[in-house]
Amino acid sequence: MATRADPRLLSNLKKYGAADISACFNCGNCTAVCPLSQGNDAFPRRMIRYAQLGMKEYLLSSKELWLCHHCGECSETCPRRAGPAEFMAAARRYAISSFDPFGLARRLDRSVVSIAAVILILGVLFAAVLLWESQGIPEGMTAGFSTAAMLDFVPFEILHDAGIVLFVLLGVMALITFLNMFWAMTHSPVPGNVGKPPEGPGMFPAQAALKAVLRTISDVILHSSQRDCGQDQTSRRPLLIRRWFVHLCIMGGFLGLAAATILDYLFKDPDLHVMPWHPIRLLGILSGVICTYGVTVAILPRLKKTKPGSLMSARQHYYSRTAPFDWLFLGLLWIISVTGFVLTAAIYMPVAGSWLYVVFLIHVILAMELLILMPFTKFAHVIYRTVAIWFQNFRKFRVAAD
């Protein structure tokens, strides 16, 4: 079945940030230099081709879209300065919007006003819920700031119930987007992408699927593909600011904080004051430090202004193209990390003041917003990238077994 050429896809993608991609003349330098492109992938050149011709299903169902770590090598090599790396980033944002049936991702991507409005509306909503039965800011404050005081301000039951509702909602929405993407991948028209594993004796699919799950978990934990990818390999930057390490810090810190919160709930009375060396508290503190470090290092180079039109290195190029969509995720994460850190410090130090309760409120509200918005922001890559890596591993095991 022939595909109808449609220029609208390309103009749409330009709105998502692929501003220069029309200049691409499919020379394939990007493919040659891409550390991820193997065999006949013709990646990322072919992705761009799909966009130029309007082959939407092909583009959205290419697992390579999510395997790219935006190292920027291709943009630096591109003879027409078409920005293939920025195209890939834009295509991912476009994909997040496409797999989101609620239309929220598209709004968050396109306009800063929408982002502000959503943050504000959700903030007011969550504040209303959380403060419904608040006992207010404790008087006198002579007792100092403490966990117990915080939970007087926002009652634990409300926090707990709201959290559960939040997670159920999130689960449903994440599942919908996940299924959307999974369906697209399994029905991909791209030959040999993921849809049809090779015929033959092969490994029993369930076995391949399981092996792929294990391999995917190890890939994600070790960041193996990002570690081997492009810039980090060639630039020999110090480990502490290499992108894969920074990402590992953010992810590890985030997971550590999540684990601490769950353990705290399961094994300890949340009201109870514990010393910093209590194992669960220690996990929380360390994870918070690591996460804050990662997010800060990720943000700093993005703040540097580059002159428009100047010749930039791939790295500068990468950071200079940070879209509001990216800021939304990074910004939320940073504020949550830093406020969390401040609150923890306040518990063990002789400081007090009503501003701490405001900080606490902001911390909780933004954390809830970060979670509930997960399928509609850059955070969604947690789903899509993992699924794509799984598909890649699944295919690898099927082919290897053949």
Binding site: A2, F25, R46
Partner: protein
Amino acid sequence: MTDLEDTQPKPENKKDEPRVGVYVCHCGGNISDVVDVEKVVAEAAQLPGVAVSRTNMFMCSDPGQKMIQEDIQKGLVDNFVVAACTRSLHETTFASLLARNGVNPYLLEQANIREQCSWPHHGQEAATAKAFTLVRAAVAKARRLVPLNPVRVEATNCALVIGGGVAGLRAAGDLSKLGIKVVLVEREKELGGFVRRLDALYPDEEPATALLSRLVEAVRTDSGIVVHTNSEVTGIEGYIGNFTAQVRKNSDSKAGEIRIEAGTIIVATGFRSYQPAKKELGYQKLSRVVTLADFNELLVASAGDSAVLEFEGKPVRSVGFVHCVGSRQIEGVHKPGENGNINRYCSRVCCTATLHTACRLRRRFPDMEIHDFYQDIRTYGRGHEDYYEQASKSDVIFHRYRAESPPRVAKAPAADEYNLLITVEDSLTAGEEIEVGVDILVLAVGMMPADNATIIDNLKLASSSDGFLQEVHPKLRPVEMAVNGVLLAGACQAPKDITESCASASAAAIKAAAILRKGYVELDPYVVKVDLARCEGTGLCVEECPLDGALHMVGEGNERHVEVNPAICNGCGCCVAVCPTRALQVSGWTLDQYEAMVDAIVADPVEVSS
């Protein structure tokens, strides 16, 4: 450098016998690594008639030439043998050395002991023996060399330019400025050729009308240029310096034949556009499939502020361009044309012309869909790539097809948004089939050789396998034809754009002026000479001669004999072979010279040297 004792002048040489000098070259080691040069020199010194025999590391170098010069100045040598490389490389070097020192340059013979000996052969003994054989033959000929003088032909101070397109106009204008009278013959009613069909021109966007009016004005107002429009060359004869052309004037008022005398001819007959085969890409079957020239005329006709391009009364929302139509054709895929040939070559101009049109279209209609179907983009000229980049950046969608599977064109179903549906296998994905809706499909048709049959037949010109006129040498003599005095300008030679056409026209004009400004032409003296005492007037030679007018019979009865026109004769020697009385000899290559060479080759070298 080696001077052998026994090769010193031999005083016993007879006065009337030319003394031969033999100069054997090492050519670095190119020769001496394989050939024992010293041995050849020593043996050559023993040959009869040889006065000196010397060697040098590089005979063409200053010290090498000085060695020969000293022998001339001392009066030791009359005729010269240089045993070195091929004549085509250094004959001029040594001939002009002789001329500079007051020696007739035709008293030189070269023995090629490099390309014809040391390079192809291994084994010193055999190679040395062969080198000596070649030197022996050269010495035998050199002993019989006589001074020769170039053939001098008076030239008519007029150039005939055939074709009044940009190339012809450019050549005519340049020639007149150089003081040469010009007759310009154009078949059409108006001057300007194909460029009259064009609009803005790449790479500087000058309107075609402005460019043409400059060229035409210069030619029309020049009193040194006679222009015959509506006229056709029906016959040409003659030779360099003295051509005569028959021209038929077709205009109603002044119909009739005229004769033009010219010293040189510049052929500027241009090209003809490829006519797509019936149904090729829907051409002539679907009215919305047009050629690039047609489309340009449509754009010119619809000029103005209109925000919409209209065709057949409907707005055009999407335009497709197809490259390589009638160019880069492949056996088995494309049907041969009327001449039985397919056009394997690239027409070169169409890529830039197409992209230029696409860019102009985009500027006028920012929202139009523009599709470009190509095999390869060959925007080779300075500034041409900019059009490609500009087209890409302004969202012209490129579709790369493979030559074996060109786009398929069909009328779109009535319900479709567009009028035509183009189906193309996109070779930049995994060959997926892409359907493209367009309202007009523009075919970038290639260039084909113009019909030059009359000129080719009359002047016996060479054309290449693709039918375009062929120059003598693609790099060193790019605007000259093998027939002396006939020059090439513009696209009659190969597909060219205006820039290239004008460049070749100016080059041809300079070449023509170089011939005509002197008033005479000097040609090689290697032409046939008649020994009237021996000629019996059989006329066999005239029948055999491949060149019209080189030989002709004069006189009656016993007086009947052959006469040579040295301006036309090229010294091929066909007549020499058929003459029963040895009355004909090619100067510089006479029969007794040949025989002496053959004798020297077959002679036992030991016997000769004894």
